[in-house]
């Protein structure tokens, strides 16, 4: 194979395979984190039986879904019924293609590898297009199941999509105007040269985008399409086994994609906090401090949970972790601090921010009751659409006046 083939075919294929292999694993554990966090918010324990503190629970769940009987209702439209989960999951995974997880490319076996699969100049439009395709899967699933509950869920989903695609798109326009590009990499670089994250000038846009995105991913408090209290399980009532797992995979992939977009557009992607203050350059290696801090605090907290000792061990563990991190950072033990290549540092900040937004999703689920149908429509049409249009007009005027 010559160099060209490897650079243009083998490496992208490898990246795609890595993304498609790793994301389901992340999702499996995201599900465990969700169950754990919800449990803790409700002052209970959450999964604990499979593995230490339930750490093997996602594996058990996945195995169960794999070997479960895959039933199709007698009166269902068989072809569409099988197609629906595929239509849902493919756009969700395809959206990952334009997400850059770090800024600088890195070298591997003499080849330069970009930390993104592709950097197209219409990335935002691509994301909008592909994310609205995923809704077709839900509508098809509701129709093909030939069940009242599924049908109602699908109808709600289509109405919700029509209402919330509009503010979703408008909220992105402000960022595009500020950055002057729709490419994800260019948008982050524009934030670096502007010296601040776009959440500052685009606070309203961020607000509109995040709320619409929660609605687009059908998560609490906008989970009307599956509303388990009203519609059994909504559009996936009739699904079981791997087909159900596909819907599940798609929902959580969409959550990750949306959190990544929020991070990239409004929170500087792989940039550290305050990207242009030189005095804070040590934050580039923030993972040396933050990872041991968080790990120590979490282990301390688990001990507290068992022993009922308040938060004593959590603070102790956090302090010990931070101290160990500081020691490593200052003395450069094991060459760890200098080994922090830019790609790693970028990936750290990116995943930290994405994790925060994923936590927000779970936090919302633990806090808010579901919107009523008319309230959902009212919020979309009467608040988010006017606010996002206001944001577009305001940003446009500001850009015009400064030019």
């Amino acid at each position: 194979m010559d160099r060209d083939t490897i650079e243009h075919i083998v490496i992208p294929t490898g990246q795609v395979l890595v993304a498609v292999a790793i994301v389901p694993l992340i999702i499996a554990y995201l599900q465990l984190v969700e169950r754990k966090v919800l449990g803790f918010m409700q002052v209970r324990l959450a999964p604990r039986r499979v593995g230490w503190h339930g750490l093997l629970q996602p594996i058990a769940d996945a195995l169960k879904l794999l070997i479960k009987e895959d039933t199709t209702p007698a009166m269902a439209d068989r072809a569409l019924f099988t197609m629906a989960p595929i239509i849902t999951v493919i756009p969700a995974l395809a959206a990952l293609a334009v997400i850059p997880i770090a800024g600088q490319p890195f070298e591997l076996f003499g080849y330069t590898i970009n930390p993104w699969i592709s950097d197209i100049n219409v990335a935002l439009l691509f994301l909008l297009a592909i994310s609205s395709l995923g809704i077709y899967g839900i509508i098809v699933a509701g129709w093909a199941s030939n069940s009242k509950y599924s049908m109602l869920g699908a109808l709600r989903s289509s109405a919700q999509m029509i209402s919330y695609e509009v503010p979703l798109g408008f909220a992105l326009i402000g960022v595009m105007m500020l950055a002057g590009s729709a490419s994800m990499v260019k948008i982050v670089e524009a934030q670096k040269s502007a010296g601040w994250w776009f959440v500052g000038p685009q606070l309203l846009g961020f607000f509109c985008y995040f709320i619409s995105a929660v609605a687009e991913t059908n998560r609490v408090p906008f989970d009307l399409p599956e509303a388990e209290a009203e519609l059994v399980a909504g559009f996936h009532t009739e699904y079981s086994g791997m087909k159900f797992a596909f819907f599940f995979l798609a929902e959580y992939t969409n959550m990750i994609v949306v959190s990544s977009i929020v991070t990239i557009l409004f929170f500087g992607g792989w940039l550290r906090p305050f990207p242009n203050i030189e005095a804070l350059a040590w934050l580039e290696n923030g993972w040396i401090f933050l990872v041991p801090l968080v790990a120590g605090a979490s282990i301390g907290w688990l001990i507290d949970q068992r022993a009922g000792t308040g938060l004593r061990w959590m603070f102790a563990g956090g302090l010990a972790g931070a101290a160990a991190g500081a020691a490593i950072g200052v003395t450069d033990a094991f060459g760890l601090a200098s080994a922090a290549i830019p790609a790693l540092s970028g990936a750290f900040w990116f995943s930290l921010k994405v994790s925060f937004f994923l936590f927000m999703y779970i936090w919302f689920r633990g806090t808010y009751p579901r919107y009523r149908y008319d309230q959902l429509m009212g919020l979309g049409w009467k608040w988010l659409i006017p606010l996002s249009i206001l944001n577009v007009v305001g940003t446009g005027l500001a850009v015009l006046l400064r030019a």
Partner: protein, 172 residues
Amino acid sequence: MTEMAKDGGARSGGRRAPDLRDLARQFLLLELWVGLWVTLKNQFRPHITVEYPKETVELSPRFRGVPRLRFHPETSEELCIACHLCETVCPDDCIHIVSEKKPDGKGKRLVSFEINYERCCFCGLCVDPCPTKPLTAIYMSHDYELADYQRTGFVAPLKHLLDGSDPTEYKE
């Protein structure tokens, strides 16, 4: 309560101008932030779940589990004098006693004593009239794990009542 009244008035009649503070509260989504703060705070409370088969809750001394019979603590004789008072007072009719006259003259002794746990409501009324002093012959034990594979396992014979019982073996 006053908040609700104010809100309701503003929405239904529209007679009074909407309070500026209420508007600001609605616009800044104050209630939503309060809710998020509550769930965040509760994450750091120690859990209150008891992992039952591994750990159990502490029972109060007056807890009423399954009724049992008692040996004399020193002489290890049965305390029951077969007076049938518990059988008489039982509201569920779940105690069944067969007794005979003692061969050596005064008093009666037990031939069989059965309690049907399927019917027992754990009211403890059988303990109240028990005449043996200072310890009652029948008492409410602290056993509460009553699951069994067969219905016959719920009718406890005298031996089980005195020594405690194990669930019957599982059979298809």
